[in-house]
Symmetry: C2
Subunit: 295 residues, 2 copies
């Protein structure tokens, strides 16, 4: 850390003992297998404290998002891109709903990436990603992303190893280019445990109103759990860069996962150092024009 | 009304004496000029009652939205399109934020239509609208819409009268086509008063953090208030059809405007008569497969 905040939580971040970005960053040598997926790295509090912190920081996030939007509307080029990855049931949808649900929908550009359509499959895998990058002033959210092209594609051998092997470096170069255009990339791996995934799939099966979400293929993917974890480890090893680090969020406690992503976004937005745009406006003159319209 | 609910509010709609759709619909002979823009048609309650009703109905809206989404994910073709129109400061952004903010962002497709880009201006005015129509299962939201092409375009004489005059019928035909593809169109005019607009513009001018939102052109449009009201009246007269009626929501009380749009959406979604999709799923078999993955 060279920004002078090492070890200190972001201002106002009640309950965090260090910045979330520091507590959750996957640095060199990070070992995914050793993560306790019920842990709450960096946060010293229980579920109630977490909920209170989330609400408080949600209000901060909302103001920061509006500043980012204002910045974009007045010619600024900055944006933020939240990339969400994780196994089925890890809680990506819940993060979208509960974290991004705290800010103005007009400032959020959400995109879910499923199995490529035939048209997408005929293109380079980064083309559909590039087309969905956030405009200036926006918070883009990718529910799955280009990382599927080195995760499911690798594990299920959808393309030969020679083809996916080169993608790690290509993705790093792509994200450098994205950063250069003004987009801060926040990559979050929601890490749910094998046991918790079973409990969540069971609940889904036991609720008729959730059956439409259930896909028998989820159990097939579960059969390749170890290979998926290896593929995630390779992603962390090869694409967690200083400019676009991965954050690994233990996801067995939903409240923590949502709080952690909230805090990561707050820190990323605070890092932009935005203020309200200075607008060249003749306030007294406009007030006079306005009064002249009244009887 | 032929659906047997005339005069009765939607089930569970606390505070509404009649369905919002009935209280707010602009039928034949509707007179915009006579509307009290601080009134709360159909709702018998004050601000506190309105807030309680909004929260309660927001939860209903959230479940209905998820059912619509599930419907779309399982092959259904229905969707809903909320069209928001109104003078500057009428509260379109607040409706988007506070009403749509109550449902899952993944199910909402929001699009704001500003001054056409050069590429858009080179196309037929309905082309950019058509491209933004909601996919099955989604709630689409248009913050301004094709109606600008008979509002600002008419008042500011951006095209000759002979050109915009034909657009009313064209829009009616277009919306019939949209309905035929499965989209329920809910058109809302947020009607703010001349006096309240002045108060809101004044507050915007008095707050430095809102200056980026202030556009001196808003005062110019205010100078043509009467012409804009005439243009809105023409929209109501010529495009409020049985299949896609206009709802006029008095907008001087923000809490009422948001509550009314919430209720209109709830009623529209309930009108689809959706239930949770019946999925062909071998629950016992899947539970057995799941258990087999556990030690």
């Amino acid at each position: 850390m060279t920004d002078g905040t090492a070890g200190r939580p972001a201002p106002g971040a009640v309950g965090w003992t260090v910045p979330a970005a520091e507590a959750l960053r996957a640095g060199p040598g990070y070992d995914l297998a050793s993560l306790d997926r019920r842990s709450t790295p960096g946060f010293d509090g229980d579920k109630d404290a977490g909920r209170a912190a989330m609400q408080q920081r949600g209000e901060v996030l909302s103001v920061l998002q509006e500043q980012l939007y204002a910045h974009g509307r007045t010619g600024g080029d900055r944006s933020v891109l939240l990339v969400l990855q994780g196994m089925d049931t890890a809680g990506k949808g819940g993060v979208v709903r509960h974290v991004l649900g705290m800010v103005d929908p007009q400032g959020v550009a959400l995109r879910a990436f499923g199995v490529p359509t035939p048209a997408e499959a005929a293109q380079h895998y980064l083309e559909r990603i590039r087309a969905a990058l956030p405009a200036p002033g926006r918070i883009g959210v990718f529910d799955r992303s280009h990382y599927e092209d080195v995760l499911v594609v690798r594990v299920e051998e959808l393309v030969p190893v020679a083809q996916w092997e080169g993608r790690y470096d290509e993705i790093v170069a792509f994200e450098e280019e994205v950063a250069a255009r003004g987009t801060t990339v926040v990559k979050v791996l929601l890490a749910v445990s094998y046991e918790e995934q079973a409990a969540r799939l069971r609940r889904r099966l036991e609720r008729p109103d959730k059956h439409w979400k259930y896909d028998p293929a989820d159990i097939d993917a579960r059969g390749r759990w170890g290979e998926y974890q290896e593929a995630y480890q390779a992603v962390l090893d090869r694409t967690s860069t200083p400019g676009a680090p991965w954050y690994v969020v233990p996801a067995d406690r939903k409240w923590f996962a949502r709080l952690a992503v909230t805090e990561l976004l707050v820190e990323a937005l605070e890092g932009l150092g935005l203020t309200w745009p200075e607008v060249d406006l003749d306030v007294a003159g406009e007030l006079a024009r306005l009064e002249a319209t009244l009887p």
